[in-house]
Amino acid sequence: MKVINNIKEEENLLSRLFRAIYRIRRVELEVARVYPSDVIKSPVHLSVGQEFISVAICDVLKKTDVVFGTYRGHALYLAKGGNLNAMMAELYGKLDGCCGGKGGSMHLADKSVNMMGTSAIVATSIPEAVGYALAIQYRAGNEVVVCFFGDGATSEGAFHESLNFASLKQLPILFVCENNDYAIHARLSDRAAQMDLYKLAESHHIPAQIFKESDILALRDLSNSMINEIRSGSGPQFLEAHAYRWLEHVGPGDDWNLGYRSEEEIRKWEKEDQVEVLGNLLPTDLRLQLEQEINNEVAESMIFAEKSPFPSREELTKHVYK
């Protein structure tokens, strides 16, 4: 019986992860597809290729756990359980968007699942995440905060100030550095004297791990053990997870024409695309069924966004203050 249960659990896990990662990939590619029509009149920073990090980590979080992210935040928003219709309407600048159209792609939030608002200024949400973790400690809560940011953020003062404070106060927070090697068009080697970013955390006495594989299951296991330790009260931890940004920094296309990076770089990551890897682990009929469901859901979200009204004049001056 036990064996059967394990197989069942394994299947559930695989289908759950595939569902989450395929859904994000579909959303991102649909956004890219409609982008030239200018229905989304705002910058988009797509997460294609990097989705597996958000999916792996959010899969082991509770709804009550809290995440902070960045302007490249579609994957995190969806992985944490953010409402897809509200996200799509937000991208379209509509009243039914998660922020009523006032945030857009760079400022997504869904408080109902503890997806905190994302910031368009590098590293600025890191101290906020630490402050939220302080509030959890203040109330003797059992929740964990996970703070996502890119490798570019590690050059900011706020990053170091935050790590020091989190370590000093032994706060319940996991820092996740998504290292895609590029800050817009600049390589890490041109920006950082210490390229082993996890060592920056160690210098603040924060236990740190580096994960360079394209392996969602292994990353999920690693983050699960880190989060369990944090939840048990062992203080903050740091995870440097590598990934590759398949598309341009901002916008819907690739950018090989710019010449700042070689197309060869993507080959390894494409070969190990976690959407395909997970999909191939599922029975074909289940995979097709999930894909169909998600394709329909994404199409419906775009119809929802299209149909939602634009905010009216009175919305302009609402919410400056509570």
């Binding site: 809290v66 968007g97 998660c98 922020c99 009523g100 159209g101 006032k102 945030g103 400022h107 939030a109 408080k111 905190m116 608002g117 910031s119 200024i121 600025t124 949400s125 890191i126 101290p127 906020e128 995440a129 630490v130 402050g131 939220y132 973790a133 302080l134 509030a135 959890i136 203040y138 003062g157 706020a158 170091h160 100030e161 935050s162 020091n164 404070f165 000093l168 609402k318 919410h319 400056v320 203050y321 509570k322």
Partner: protein, 353 residues
């Protein structure tokens, strides 16, 4: 009991302390963080021993990392706590302007009204005894310029208490600016906990010839000028706006409508300052119905010098204020500079800084 209460005097600093400690009793979510808040001086007494009375969780020292620490306070506020982030000088707030302007002021709006930041950011404006260029600035116009922030700069102890409690209870980020020269001034302060009305000015002297709006410590200096003006038959109405955002422009406009003349005396530079803002708002409201005369006074357009003789020239003082008003009333008369002793709180100040 009630008689004792009415006679009860507190310093400005004592009033701030009392407001914070009463709110900490009243609401478990209120806490204090800032450099030196738990040290033996306790932020000029305003946070003294709060960590002993309420525990180190409720009042604690922080690393010298203004940007990160304000971010931490914002994050705690997003989680529903009510942090008070303390800075011994306003100048240090420049290090956390990114968090203040880009995050605290934007959060509620940018996230559709779902992510408000109930936060108090305290900064003391320094002056005298060689504070110099980097310990004497007052940036209320920076903060006023930004939608999403509220700004208060109380002058008197009772207002300091009522405004602090109002700021703590407000669901938005409030920048609370306190002037170092006001700390020793005493006033009757009710012992009960009370929150003053947000955005409500205080008329300190009623008058009919001119309206003087003072900002922070310049209210005190304007009141001194008022005495001398009475001696030459000038009836000046003195207004302390207390709150700069929201600004009680209605009270100021009503006064200028009566007097026809307005002088704004700021504890800051004039260019793009609160003095410009108040003058233009009054002009916009009254220019079509009456002829009005507006003037401004504030810092000399230089950094603040450290040496005393130059520093004295950098600030408006009661004699200069009285002289300016005299000129506005008696346009044709010769310049008049009443002899006024240096204000006591400035002359006596020897620190601690």
């Amino acid at each position: 009991m009630s008689i004792n209460n009415k006679e009860r005097q507190l310093t400005y600093g004592g009033a701030i302390y009392e407001a914070i400690s009463q709110e900490m009793v009243n609401d478990d979510s209120v806490f204090v963080l800032g450099q030196g808040v738990d040290d033996p001086k306790g932020t000029l007494g305003t946070t003294l021993d709060l960590h002993k009375d309420f525990g180190v969780k409720r009042s604690f020292d922080v690393p010298i990392a203004e940007d990160g620490i304000l971010g931490v306070a914002i994050g705690a506020a997003l989680a529903g706590l009510r942090p008070i982030n303390v800075h011994i000088r306003v100048d240090f707030l420049l290090l956390c302007m990114n968090q203040l302007i880009n995050m605290a002021a934007k959060s509620n709006y940018m996230f559709g009204g779902k992510m408000n930041v109930p936060l108090v950011l305290r900064g003391a404006i320094g002056r005298s005894w060689g504070q110099g260029a980097q310990h004497s600035q007052a940036f209320h116009s920076f903060f006023m310029h930004t939608p999403g922030l509220k700004v208060v700069a109380p002058t008197f102890a009772s207002d300091a208490k009522g405004a602090m409690i109002a700021a703590i209870r407000d669901d938005n980020p409030v920048v609370y600016l306190e002037h170092r020269m006001l700390y020793s001034l005493k006033e009757h302060v009710p012992i009960e906990s009370f929150a003053s009305e947000l955005g409500k000015a205080r008329i300190l002297r009623e008058g009919s010839d001119i309206t003087i709006v003072g900002i922070s410590h310049m209210v005190v200096e304007s009141l001194r000028a008022h005495k001398h003006l009475e001696g030459v038959g000038i009836s000046a109405e003195i207004i302390d706006p207390i709150w700069l955002s929201p600004l009680d422009i209605d009270t100021i406009v009503a006064s200028v409508k009566k007097t026809g003349k307005l002088l704004v005396v700021d504890t800051a530079w004039l260019t793009c300052g609160v003095s410009s803002e108040i003058c233009i708002q009054v002009i916009e409201r009254l220019q079509s119905s009456q002829k009005i005369h507006v003037e401004r006074m504030g810092y000399e357009n230089t950094p603040c010098p450290t040496t005393k003789p130059l520093e004295n020239m950098f600030y408006p003082n009661p004699s200069l204020i009285a002289s300016k008003v005299h000129k506005m009333i008696y346009l044709d008369q010769e310049d008049w500079f009443p002899s006024v002793a240096e204000s006591e709180e400035i002359a006596k100040f020897r620190g601690p800084f």
